[in-house]
C-alpha cells in the first residue's frame, strides 16, 4: 500500500466527515430527515468546477462561492420543509436530489453526462495543492472547522432551539421558537458545509460527473450519520471513518463490499439502532457507564 493511496483515502475520509457532520445538523439537530444531501455536495462541486474551468477563477474564490451559493440554494430548497413533514419530507428531498442531478446531466453548461474535467489544482499562498499531504491537511482543516461549527451550534441557544423543534414542533412554537426560521437555518448551514466539501472534492479529483452525486450517494451519507450515532458529534465522524474504510479494508472481498455494507446497515438497525457510538448504544454505555446523556437520549421521532 503506497503512501499516495493511503493519503487519498484519508483525504476522502476528511471530506466525508464534513459531509456527515453537515447532514447531522439537519437530521440529528433539527430532526429533518433528508435523502438529498448529495445534491448539495454536487452543487458545491459543480459551482467550483464551473468557476474554475469556465471563468478561470482562483481556488479561494471558487471555494467561498461554492459555500455561499450552495448555502443559498439550501435555504431555498429548505422551503418545502416548512409545509411538508416526516415521510413526505424524506421523499421531497429525494426528489430534489433527482431534479438537481438531471439538471447537471441535461444542461450543456454543466457538461452534460460527460461532466466537467481538468479542474485545476488549488493554489494557496503560492503553493500548489495537487493531492498528497497538503491536500489532506487542507481537507482536515475543513473537517475540523465543520466540527467546531457543529460544536458551537450544539452548545448555544440555537442548538437548544433545534432540539426543541426535533422533539416537538408544536411545543417549540408555543414557547416562542420559530420552527420555520430554524428549519431554514438548518437547511442553509447544512447545505453550505456540504457545498464546501463538494468544492474540496472537485478540486481534489479534478473532474465532476453527475452520477457521483446521485441518490445512492445521499444514502451513503445518511448511513454514515445513522451508523455512527445520530445527533452526536462523535457519531458522524466515526460513521464516516468506518463506512469509508470498510470497503478499503475488505478489498479481498471487494466484489461483495456493497452486499456487506447493506447487511451491516440492516444488522445495525436490528441490534444497535442508536448507532455505534450514539447516546444509549451498547458501546457508549460501556465507555461511559455513568453518563447522564443516557437518560435524555435524543430520539428521532417521526410520527
Amino acid at each position: 500500500m503506497s503512501t499516495g493511496y493511503l493519503l487519498t483515502i484519508f483525504t476522502f475520509i476528511a471530506i466525508y466527515i464534513s459531509l456527515a457532520l453537515s447532514l447531522n445538523i439537519l437530521v440529528g439537530f433539527a430532526g429533518q430527515i433528508s435523502l438529498g444531501q448529495a445534491a448539495f455536495f454536487g452543487i458545491g462541486a459543480y459551482t467550483s468546477a464551473v468557476l474554475a474551468i469556465r471563468y478561470s477563477l482562483p481556488f479561494t474564490i471558487d471555494f467561498i462561492s461554492a459555500i455561499l451559493i450552495t448555502g443559498f440554494v439550501g435555504l431555498f430548497l429548505g422551503l418545502p420543509s416548512l409545509r411538508v413533514r416526516h415521510d413526505f419530507l424524506v421523499l421531497a428531498t429525494m426528489g430534489i436530489n433527482f431534479v438537481v442531478i438531471s439538471v447537471f446531466k441535461y444542461v450543456d453548461f454543466f457538461g452534460g453526462a460527460m461532466g466537467l474535467v481538468n479542474i485545476p489544482a488549488p493554489v494557496l499562498f503560492g503553493i500548489s495543492f495537487r493531492g498528497g499531504v497538503p491536500y489532506f491537511i487542507l481537507s482536515s482543516i475543513y473537517a475540523l472547522l465543520t466540527l467546531g461549527l457543529c460544536w458551537y451550534i450544539s452548545k448555544t441557544w440555537s442548538g437548544l432551539a433545534f432540539q426543541t423543534i426535533r422533539s416537538d414542533e408544536d411545543a417549540a412554537a408555543s414557547v416562542g421558537v420559530s420552527s420555520a426560521r430554524y428549519k431554514i437555518y438548518a437547511f442553509g448551514i447544512s447545505a453550505a458545509i456540504a457545498g464546501g466539501a463538494g468544492s474540496l472534492y472537485a478540486h481534489f479529483i479534478g473532474s465532476v460527473f453527475p452520477d457521483t452525486f446521485a441518490f445512492v450517494e445521499s444514502i451513503a451519507i445518511l448511513s454514515m450519520v445513522i451508523f455512527g450515532g445520530v445527533g452526536t458529534l462523535r457519531g458522524p465522524i466515526i460513521g464516516a471513518i468506518i463506512l469509508r474504510l470498510t470497503p478499503e479494508l475488505l478489498r479481498f472481498i471487494s466484489d461483495y463490499r456493497f452486499t456487506l455494507y447493506g447487511a451491516l446497515l440492516v444488522l445495525m438497525m436490528l441490534f444497535q439502532p442508536m448507532g455505534i457510538l450514539g447516546n444509549g448504544s451498547w458501546l457508549w454505555q460501556k465507555l461511559h457507564p455513568n453518563n447522564r446523556d443516557v437518560a435524555n437520549t435524543p430520539q428521532m421521532e417521526v410520527k
Binding site: I33, L79, P80, R83, V84, R85, H86, D87, F88, V90, L91, A92, M94, G95, I96, F98, V99, I101, S102, V103, K105, Y106, F215, V216, I219, L222, S223, I226, V230, D255, Y256, F258, T259, Y261, G262, A263, L264, L265, V266, M268, M269, L270, P273, Q299, M300, E301, V302, K303
Partner: protein
Amino acid sequence: MDFAQNLSNAIILGCTYLLMAAGLTMVYGVLKVLHIAHASVYTIGAFVGVLVYSWVGNFWLSLLIAMIFSGVFGILIYRFSYYYLLDVPRTVPLIASIGLFVMLTDLLQKPFLMGPYQRAFPAGGAGLPRIDTPWFSITSKQLLIFSVTIVLMVLVYLLLTRTRIGLGWQAASLDREMAAAVGINLNRIIALNFFIGSALAGAAGVLVGIYNNSVFATMGDLPSYKAFIIIVLGGMGSLPGAILASLLLAIVENFLVASIGYVLPRDSIAFLVLILMLMFRPHGLLGQE
C-alpha cells in the same frame, strides 16, 4: 388521433406504475414504513419470470411462479427485518430498508444471479391479439399488461373487501394497535399484506420485462422511485389514491413529453410534479391531515 394514442399509451404505463405502487402503499398503510427494498422485489420477480420462461416457455406459468416467489420473498423481508422494528422510531426501519435495498441490488448483480448484463424476455404478447381502431391501436403486449393489471387489481379488491382477512387488513391499516386490541391476528395480516404487495411488484417486473424485452439487475430503481411519488400523490396508504395517481402521473408525463419534448428527462418531471404538489397539498392529493 395523437391524443387518443397518447392517452392509451399513458394508461398502459399507468398500469405498470400501479402494480408497483399498490404494494408500497399497502406496506405503508399497515406498517408506516417507506419500503425502499420493494425495488428489489420487482427485479427478483422479473428475474424469476425470465428464468421460468426460459425453462418452460409458458408465459402464464412463469407469471404465476414469479408472483408466488416474490410474495414469499416479501414475507421473508418482513419476517427478518421489519418484524423486529415495529415499535421503534420510524427512521430505523427506513434505514434498514435502505440497507436491504443496497444489499439485494448488489447481490443481484453477481454473476451467479443476474450478472451485470441485460437478458431478453421474448414472451411477446402471450398470444393476445393486437387491437386497431381508427383512433388508436393497442399492441398485444400492451393488451397483456392492461388485462393482467385489471384482473389482479379486481382480485385484490375482492380479497380486501369481501373476506374476513381483508377486513382485518382494513382495520390494521386504520389503526394497528386498535386492530390488535380487538383480536385481529396482526402477524397474519401483515404477512398477507407483504405477500400481496410483493406479488404485485413481481408481476409488474415480469410485465415490464416483457414490454421492454429486457431484464437487468437495476431495473427496479426508477419504478420504485416513481412508485414513491405515486403513493405520495395518492395519499400514503390509500389504494384508490394510488390507482388515481398512477394514471394521473402517467398521463401528465406522456402529454408533457409529447407537447414540450425532452427539456428534462421524464423522471425528473415526475419529481418536479411531486415537489410542487407537496407545496400545495402537504399530505398528498387524497391524503388527510
